[in-house]
């Protein structure tokens, strides 16, 4: 079975934020929740690179390990999903996440967190809702994987910088790109998320 991953080719990323608005559009994500974001390093200087980041759907996902109520789990495709019915909004997944993926709607007048929200790889949610149902959509967003589609952020990436799909295929795509053009700043986050990098 395919192992789904994200790969951001920073040498292609132009910080256009299409991934961000595509995510908002597809999943009707409210203001203040950033399932995906683009971080720019060395902003304004030679060597500037931007990286689009969301939940990387880690191998041995630390968020899942630390969750005090075990509401996070990995699917057979390696997609890390969670159940908002079980989540208690404690914030532990945020401390553990190497990529700042978990988001919390702010409830109440002090920092009390609501149910955690994060990138679902456009694969619905980890609750009991029927996959692809309107109930699942309202709680978690789209279930594109079920329809044979990949996350919209990657599908709509303006420069094909953000890749999603079977890890072997996207690693191969990246490898070929680097060989063709002769440079590559690396598969950002792969070492931390998947404990591997792409050998060129």
């Amino acid at each position: 079975m395919a192992r789904m991953k994200f790969l951001c080719d920073a040498d292609r990323c132009i910080e256009c934020n299409a991934c961000v608005t595509a995510c908002k559009n597809e999943n009707e994500v409210p203001w203040g929740i950033n399932r995906r974001r683009v971080v720019t390093l060395n902003d304004g200087k030679p060597g500037e690179r931007s990286v689009s980041m969301a939940c990387m759907h880690c191998t041995d996902a630390p968020c899942a390990a630390v969750c005090p109520v075990s509401c996070i789990l990995s699917t057979d495709e390696g997609v890390v999903l969670h159940s908002k019915d079980l989540c208690i909004g404690c914030g532990y997944c945020f401390y553990a996440c190497p990529f700042g993926a978990p988001q919390y709607p702010q409830l109440g007048n002090f920092g009390s967190r609501g149910k955690m929200d994060k990138c679902t790889y456009c694969a619905g949610g980890g609750g009991t809702e029927v996959p692809g149902s309107i109930e699942e959509y309202r709680k978690y967003g789209a279930n594109r994987l079920l329809e044979g589609k990949l996350p919209l952020c990657a599908e709509m990436c303006s420069t094909k910088s953000l890749l999603a799909g079977d890890s072997e295929i996207i690693a191969q795509i990246y490898k070929e790109r680097v060989l063709t053009r002769g440079y590559g700043s690396g598969a950002w986050g792969w070492r931390t998320a998947y404990r591997e990098s792409i050998a060129i």
């Binding site: 395919a2 292609r12 132009i14 910080e15 256009c16 934020n17 299409a18 961000v20 608005t21 595509a22 908002k24 559009n25 597809e26 902003d43 304004g44 200087k45 060597g47 500037e48 931007s50 075990s70 789990l73 699917t75 057979d76 495709e77 980890g126 609750g127 009991t128 996959p131 149902s133 309107i134 959509y137 789209a142 594109r144 994987l145 079920l146 329809e147 044979g148 589609k149 990949l150 919209l152 990657a154 599908e155 709509m156 990436c157 303006s158 420069t159 094909k160 890749l163 999603a164 799909g165 079977d166 072997e168 295929i169 996207i170 191969q172 795509i173 070929e176 790109r177 063709t180 053009r181």
Partner: protein, 966 residues
Amino acid sequence: MLIKREQVERRRGSLAGALPGSTSGGLDRRSFLRRSGLAAGGLAALGTFSPGMLRTTQAGPPPTPGVPVERRKNICTHCSVGCTVTAEVQNGVWIGQEPSWDSPINRGSHCSKGASVRELVHGDRRVKYPMKLVDGNWTRISWDMAIDEIGNTLAAIREKSGPDSVYWLGSTKFSNEAGYLFRKFVAFWGTNNVDCQARICHSTTVAGVANTWGYGAMTNSFNDIRRSKTLLIMGGNPAEAHPVSLQHLLEGKELNRANFIVIDPRMTRTAAHANDYVRIRPGTDIAAIWGMLWHIFQNGWEDKEFISQRVYGMDETRKEVAKWTPDEVERVTGIPGEQLRRVAEKFAKDRPSTLIWAMGQTQHTVGTANVRASCTLLLATGNVGGFGNGANIFRGHDNVQGTTDLGLDVTSLPLYYGLDEGAWRHWCRVWGVDYAWVQSRFASKQLMEAPGIAAPRWFDATMLAKSSIGQSDNLRAMMVFGHNGNTITRMPEAVKGIEALELLVIVDTVPTNWSSVSQRKNGTYLLPCGTQFESSGSRTNSNRALQWYDQVVQPIFESKEDQEIVYLFAKKLGVADQLCKNIAVETNRPLPEDLLREINRGGWSTGYSGQSPERLKRQRDHQGDFDLVSLRAKDGPCAGEYYGLPWPCWGTPDLNHPGTAILYNNHLHVKDGGGAFRARFGVERNGATLLAEGSYPLGSDIKDGYPEFTMAVLKKLGWDSELTTPEMTVIREVGGNNIDAVSWSTDLSGGIQRVALAHGCIPYGNAKARAVAWNLPDPVPVHREPIYTPRPDLVAKYPTLPDATQLRVPNIGFTVQKAAVDQKVANRFPLILTSGRLVDYEGGGDETRANIWLAELRQDMFVEISPADAQARGISNGSWVWVTGAENSSKARVKALVTERVGKGVAFMPFHFSGWFQGVDQRDRFPQGIDPYVLGEAVNSITTYGYDPVTNMPESKVTLCQITAI
């Protein structure tokens, strides 16, 4: 209630099993690879992707079960790349966007704007119904009342001050059809005061490029850049302004290991991906280009054969270039000689080379000259009219090319026919109306043939003394369709102009800053129009390709389509019957198909004649057949055609011309989209021929240069006998008693074009491009310092052009520059202020700042300032600062962004913001509930005087400012 977690886990683990038949009809390997962001290529050896739990269904957000989901193709409304937008619609509601894999332009991709266009239709900050200001309060009115009241006021102004006192400011967001209808309607109103954003965008490009080699447009295409070995981007930031184009640029760069060079005052997001970045002082492009040419001529790197065959006047240019030694170039531009030499060498030697530009070259007092210098560089190195080279001019809005072509321009009727009597008679024949009647609508024949007032000068025309304006009275009314006021320089004066108007009508999807910036109390109307997603028609992208788009949803709230609004005004003003004589109208909506057919019947000059709605719709349905690089369909019903039938698409639609993907390309037969430089400026000058010598399109019967085709030329060649009887009948009708004068551009039968093409000849002639444009103020471009320059010491040597009257109003740039130098303005305002685009917003920005998904990304107006300048002023990153301007005691309260992106002495502000003015938040002036989410100061409240002498393009790229900490 208590469901055991284990049950859930079990269900998830065996999800595939829970969906019978899930593996069949799933994602096949090819589409998987495509979705993974790849054209298959070398991956064939990879194992097959097993679809696992995948299943194919139709929608994004889950649709209501049992109700069909329709897919409709539209085009992104934002920039000119022309990305296809695929919308999923159910029950008349736009429920999702899907990637448009088949489009050879965007291949599924979007930028942040394109990926969020659904919100433009869904957003609740839209103008919902007609409104007018009553004693300072926005009051809801009906459409009938609005049209009636506005129509009566217009008629009264016409009676009192003449038709020229009403300004019709159109929009580059119009479809081709709506733009054409608007232009035609304004002709029937009786004025040439009609313009659009093209004026402040690429008017100087159009003037400069057309005066060099014939047509004022991008010569090649986004896709063709994939063939380039050197990409020089000078005065453009496509990573932010045209993000999807970067897909082609970066892939081209990678596949060819091409040189990717950026010359810009800012280390832009585009420059971040360059392999050579050159920092330049804003406003010194000509000096930099001549500096490159100095190296090229010095080392003999120029393409001598190309110059001798296809270029006129290069020797005169050499004389000017010789003055630009590396030392002088460095003194003026700040570019080290060694670096410029390297760039020049790469550009001249690693061919094909393309030069890409946008507003960085055009929005200057020397805009036209900048553009012409760029053209000269391309000509000298033989980099025009071939694969992978050319002037790749990235236009701004999604239909700025189309609306430019269709004459939303104070200097021309549709398709560059100009304003002389011949042009008017041509279009009257097409329209089927009497020339005398049209003339009677104008104040005089003289004003009918005199270019109107350029849009950036409208408020001068409102406030200057009557005697200094080239028409009978001042402007009294502004009819503003889809055009934001903050896009024009000198806003403090524009605000006074708005207040001086008798009537202000704003037709837009969002209120725009016209509605909020002034203290108007009455005489102001706000009419809701739909976005292009609520409309259908065709649009022309930057590479001249026409795409048909379908209505996604009906206009929401009380919005109406642009052409319906134009028609309603025409009806009220009594010209509707003439306006739509040959056009079907369904409940006040002129049919776009009929409008395009009329454009086809009259658009010979620019080859808008072959793109029938049927051909465009067929391409829309077979987008996937077109090649990524050549843009040509290999098979399928569109086989042989280029994507979008890029103009010129010669002859009638029946002729099946494939369109012209690359202009002036003599490596192809004209029937395959080949061409040559246009014979537009005569055949001879000062004893030297202006026609090409020994260069001609592939397979031409004439193996040399030739003038444009007329009946006289056909007769001389003996080819007139090939015209059919019906063609001859039409030619006789057009020509009357002088059929020899009937030309390829006035022959309504298309016969002359057909015969020329049959002989492998290009209808407009085969000439040389002009390095010397003797009809322009500087026939050979000359560096001239900006009006407000940080280098007053250079003004004596490089002064701006003398004062003159242009486009009905005086241009006193010289006086202003002299005063600025005399008063030592540069001492008080030591920083250069330049401006540009951001990726998240577009144009005036109100529409995008009212889009909640985009607004979240950029919540504050800012000014970029270098660390050195910030430190000297005690400014920290993220703090509030005042930016003060050199005119009108202008000031703006913005956040400081301290960054090395700008060099020392340069500050940068984005456009797109408005809603604050001179430090005051004007949110409460917007009609209630439809104020954009994000407001901020407009950069144009700081910008200053300065206009290009040819087109009156305002100088929004170089002025002076001071920045102080708050």
